[in-house]
């Protein structure tokens, strides 16, 4: 346990807990990562640190990809990224960070969207489910 460096790399995601339909919300993400560009040398030995960066970030809303970005070696360490989204239905926000080694890490959060009357707008229509049940 002691003296083990960077055992758990942290991922952070901030989504507002609730929103009114039509609002434009900001989603903030941060990943703890060295983002080693592959050009730096160890000052003592002269050995080049191998390249290790996050090269793909995928954002999904209810399982559908809504946002994807390709990163290259110019991105700073511990990259912070935020984007805006229009709130239409409640749902699950998922962010996936993929390394150039293929390792992926992910984080999720739930967004709840209300209409003006204070009713939650679900991504699936409940009426249709009920009607299905009736048929069954």
């Amino acid at each position: 346990m002691a003296n083990e460096e960077r055992e758990n790399w942290r991922r952070r995601l901030k989504v507002p807990k609730s929103a009114v339909k039509g609002d434009i919300i900001t989603i903030k993400t941060m990943a703890e990562h060295v983002m080693e560009p592959g050009v730096r040398r160890d000052p003592e030995t002269g050995v080049i640190y191998p390249k290790k960066i996050i090269d793909t970030v995928i954002c999904r809303f209810n399982g559908e990809q809504i946002y994807r970005s390709q990163w290259y070696s110019g991105v700073s360490a511990n990259p912070f990224m935020s984007f805006k989204m229009k709130a239409i239905t409640s749902g699950l926000v998922e962010i996936e960070w993929v390394d150039d080694y293929g390792q992926s890490s992910y984080k999720k959060a739930v967004l709840i969207v209300y209409d003006k009357d204070g009713k939650e707008i679900l991504p699936v229509k409940i009426d249709s489910i009920n009607s299905n049940k009736d048929i069954m």
């Binding site: 083990e4 460096e5 758990n8 942290r10 952070r12 941060m30 703890e32 360490a77 511990n78």
Partner: protein, 267 residues
Amino acid sequence: MFFIIKISFVLILVFSFKLLAGEETDSKNFEKPYEKNELKSGSYFSREETRAIEQDEFENPGMIWVERGSELFNIKIGSKNMSCASCHNKDNNSLLGAATFYPKIYKNKLINLEQKINICLKNNMNIEPYLLESNNLLSLSSFITHISKGLPMNVSIEGETEKYFQRGKEIYFERIGQMNLACNQCHDNLAGNYLRAEKISQGHVNGFPSYLMRWAQIASVHRRFQFCNNQARAEPLKIGHSDYNALQLYIAWRGNGLLLESPSVRR
């Protein structure tokens, strides 16, 4: 009547002499380069964008370390199966305000917060102490400092500590390196001016452990001192050296009254 006036006059004279004598004993106290109302934290001198990152709790990358620190604080490890939280919790031994007193005397030796954490891990929890400047130790220390965020710095320089304080003051005014620079030349005399693209701060340590963008990680005060020494082209001491502790004590005392703002973000 006349006598009474005379006596009262004499009394006033005596009293005023006493006051003067009192002032004399006060003047024994050390002079601070900055009065309390002149004290400015490092964030005052940093750029607006940097300050914005620091103040937003999510955008501040230092909070990653604080989060990890709070996890480490609550994990039960070692042969005794103890966590830091089993001794230090809200009810007893709360660490609220603990970070404001460091560096502090422990068994006739001046130590800083990181060293104190290691001593606590070794003696009370019976586990191997972390390496100085390792990620886990910095996480713990930044978490503990973050608990007392917003409280004023309050280090004491009385008693045994005074010896170290004098040594720290000596180091602060000592010219070192190929550049022949002393700390006070920039941080006392030229604070607020530009040094290339950056403003010189007053050199307080209230934001440490702070997130330094140039290294993209949290750094302790001692690592920052090393960097300062490197820039004056002097040979830096080792992290955890007693001279660095003494210097940290002097600098912390200079800024007594400033509010802790760890983890701060600096360039």
